[in-house]
């Protein structure tokens, strides 16, 4: 247990130690350096753990153990260039570091004082463009602190908002501040967070619950995971604040079992917060009790829906139920419950520290603050970005994201995952906020943003999302269970080349019924990917139906493999690797593919070194 004064002392001491990470030069007497290595899932997958352990060994070996500290951080966002290593206070960022580079970094930079330009200069422009337009509020600590060390969180004003709330504010002050800030839910629907808290606070039940939705199900989105991995205390602090605001003493974090690093760091963070008395009984001697437990999800997309999530915490099948009553009235175990998304919660402490007006000044008229996006797909700088609301798609794709690789043309961006839609090239200058995305037939969603180029078939993408919803539909209501399957079957027919124009009318008719009659948001929004691709790329559907042709060359049944005789050198590699004997030709003479025997496995395409195999 710590008192507020002791927490303040930790903050002062740790901050003076960490100040070099904020660009402040260390004094010459004590040449302290902090080597920050990204240990998010992306960088860990490319071996950053090995980099950390080799750094530690080498640093000891050179007797630098006293002055150089190796810190494992959360995600910095630039996943495409990972693993990333930053040396403070030199402000030197190394990209695509391998374990073999470690000894050079230690000997040249840490011992000799000369940065390894080979690893820092190649991507320096990319790094500059990537971070230039960003504004980090929810991700403020990701990459800056060691997420497994509560003192480092405290150093950068962590738990300061909680202390202020408990000592100076009434629950209704807190709710009013969050309401005035204009913060809206970052999980997809965009409901006012303060209003949600107000509903629950007005309910006079004895037991209430605060839940955090960390069941990030949108395929291709990893914002929440990065916050939990990089700054777990920001979520815990916000949950305690929410608990105080609505009058609850118990919180649950519902997190995907597929995120082992996030779960591990959350467990550490919760136990550290309990040790300091920042969770538990009588927090900071205020008389307020609050604790948090973790519940693991088990791979059901529908559990992102609030009533389904609560059923799952209760140990049942995660099936949604009819609302009303809304969870603010009857939620977990029939008690009033609020559910907030991870990113929403990560915004709470800064709002209380900097004031509602500060937050309300960021963003657009109706969408305040910033939004984190996971950008992926056909884009150079895959990764995680946080931008003020109202930033245009063009800025995200071409400035921050570095454009499309291979000189290909931008075709569309998909936001909102299986519930959202695509934004075509003609709307690339649209500002990204809740309202304008809805107007374009997509939605903000939780923040997945997948970029597609000319090689992406939009019919195939619509089918991909429908396959996902068919698979993830819980089966409770008929429109979603049967309807999405019927839509999928039509799309499948079209991609096989057996579609008719009447099928497009049928798709639209089914979409209307499913949207209007499904029980929960999973079903209600499931047709969106089909509707938006039909709206913007109808000609691609028509090409599949009338010309039996897939313009992007993706749909297997509609493409024909051929060998370009101009490019073929007759090396025979394709013929040797074709398991079906479909390729013939004399040595050093152009080869040919027999379409009767070809099963379109694509082996020849991957084996040809001369780009002679084509698909059309």
């Amino acid at each position: 247990m710590k008192t507020n004064a002791q927490i303040e002392e930790i903050r002062r001491d740790t901050f003076s130690e960490l100040i070099i990470r904020k660009g402040r030069k260390a004094d010459a007497e004590t040449p302290v350096k902090h080597v920050m290595v990204c240990a998010g899932t992306g960088c860990t997958s490319s071996n950053s753990e090995e980099i950390i352990s080799r750094l530690r060994v080498q640093i000891e070996k050179h007797g630098l153990g006293e002055t150089v500290k190796v810190v494992q951080t959360g995600c910095l966002g630039l996943c495409a260039k990972g693993p990333i290593v930053i040396v403070h206070p030199d402000d030197c960022m190394y990209t695509m570091v391998t374990p073999e580079d470690v000894s050079e970094i230690v000997e040249s930079h840490l011992v000799g004082g000369t940065p390894v330009t080979r690893l820092s200069e190649g991507d320096s422009q990319v790094v500059k463009d990537f971070f230039n337009k960003q504004m980090r509020v929810a991700l403020r600590n990701c990459g800056l602190i060691d997420p497994e060390n509560i003192d480092e969180y405290i150093a950068f004003d962590g738990y300061k908002a909680l202390a202020a709330v408990l000592s100076e504010m009434s629950p209704s002050d807190v709710i009013q501040t969050v309401k005035t800030s204009g913060l809206r839910g970052r999980g997809g629907a965009g409901f006012s967070t303060g209003t949600k808290w107000e509903f629950a606070s007005k309910n006079e039940a004895e037991r209430k619950y605060v839940c955090c939705n960390a069941d990030e199900g949108d395929p291709g989105a990893f914002m929440d995971r990065s916050i939990l991995e990089g700054d777990p205390h920001s979520v815990i602090e916000a949950m305690a604040i929410a608990g105080y605001a609505i009058g609850s003493n118990q919180g649950y974090i519902y997190v995907r079992a597929e995120y082992p690093i996030a779960v591990h760091r959350l467990k550490i963070a919760i136990s550290q917060a309990r040790n300091y008395g920042l969770l538990g009984r009588n927090i900071l001697d205020s008389g307020f009790d609050f604790d948090v437990d973790i519940r693991l999800g088990a791979g059901a997309f529908v559990c992102g829906e609030e009533t389904a999530l609560m059923a799952s915490i209760e140990g049942k099948r995660g099936e949604p139920r009819v609302r009303p009553p809304f969870p603010a009235e009857k939620g977990l175990w029939q008690e009033p419950t609020i559910l907030n998304n991870v990113e929403t919660l990560a915004n709470v402490a800064p709002i209380l520290l900097n004031g509602a007006e500060w937050f309300a000044d960021l963003g657009t008229l109706k969408s305040k603050g910033t939004k984190v996006f996971a950008i992926g797909g056909k884009i150079a700088n895959t990764g995680l970005v946080e931008i003020p609301m109202g930033t245009t798609l063009r800025e995200i794709v071409y400035e921050i994201g570095g454009g499309i690789p291979g000189g290909k043309a931008f075709k569309a961006a998909q936001t909102g995952g299986p519930s959202g839609g695509c934004i075509p090239a003609k709307h690339i200058d649209a500002p990204i906020d809740y309202e304008s995305l809805i107007e374009l037939g997509s939605m903000m969603g939780s923040g997945g943003l997948i970029v597609m180029d000319e090689d992406t078939c939009m019919v195939d993408i619509a089918k991909f999302f429908l396959e996902f919803t068919v698979d993830e539909s819980c089966g409770k209501c008929t429109p979603c269970r049967v309807g999405t399957r019927m839509m999928y079957d039509i799309l499948d027919k079209i991609t096989q080349g057996n579609g008719t124009e009447k099928d497009l009318d049928e798709l639209e008719r089914y979409a209307r019924v499913i949207t209007k009659t499904s029980l929960c948001a999973l079903g209600q929004t499931a047709p969106n990917p089909v509707l938006s691709t039909l709206k913007y790329f109808r000609e691609e559907y028509i090409a599949h139906i009338k010309e039996k042709r897939c313009p992007a060359g993706v749909c297997k049944q509609l493409i024909v493999y051929a060998i370009d005789p101009e490019k073929c050198t007759g090396c025979g590699l394709c013929k040797k690797n074709c398991a079906f004997g479909a390729i013939s030709g004399e040595k050093k003479a152009p080869h040919a593919i027999d379409p009767e025997k070809c099963v379109k496995c694509g082996m020849c395409l991957t084996k040809c070194k001369f780009g002679a195999v084509t698909t059309k």
């Binding site: 997958s45 291709g220 997948i450 991909f464 991957t606």
Partner: protein
């Protein structure tokens, strides 16, 4: 000690761990899903016999346990292979060709998604986003992640596993 004794020790230890799991969670609200998570960790999957034991110890109807276990894709009622291959089918991986990678692995191993090879070496699953979108397309073999995978790399990756 003979080999039978060894095997018996292992079974005893498993039983003790099993009982630990159920007694820890049986009285807590919403304890069934945590029990299933931990039992799956113990055996690698959820065997039929485990359902019966959970039902008896925790006094939950067998039908309810079965209903919950089959609802969530994370729970497996079939044993997994020595090497469990998960092909990420998140959107970022999909637009970069994860579907073709999955097809190729299916052909190479001659098994379908959800199945295990006859020798028990590999099992195959298509999973939702692993969150390593920067490395798309990605597959995971047990805990080892293979990123930026090309079709031509598939057999080489599989051959690494003995």
């Amino acid at each position: 000690m003979n080999s039978n004794g060894c095997a018996r020790d292992m079974i005893d230890e498993e039983n003790a761990r099993f009982e630990g799991i159920t007694s820890r969670h049986k009285d807590s609200k919403g304890g069934l899903i945590p029990i299933l998570h931990e039992v799956q960790e113990l055996y690698g999957y959820l065997p039929d016999s485990a359902f019966v034991r959970i039902s008896k110890t925790c006094n939950i109807p067998l039908s309810e346990i079965y209903g919950v276990a089959t609802f969530y894709s994370f729970f497996s009622l079939k044993p997994k292979g020595k090497y469990e291959i998960s092909v990420c089918m998140g959107t970022a991986c999909y637009v970069k060709g994860a579907g073709r990678i999955l097809d190729r692995i299916r052909e190479e191993l001659d098994i379908d998604v959800g199945d295990c090879t006859e020798d028990g070496k590999f099992s195959l699953s298509a999973c939702r986003c692993l969150g390593a979108c920067g490395l798309a397309p990605v597959i995971k073999v047990n805990e080892q992640v293979h990123g930026r995978l090309a079709l031509a790399d598939v057999s080489e990756v599989l051959n690494q596993y003995e």
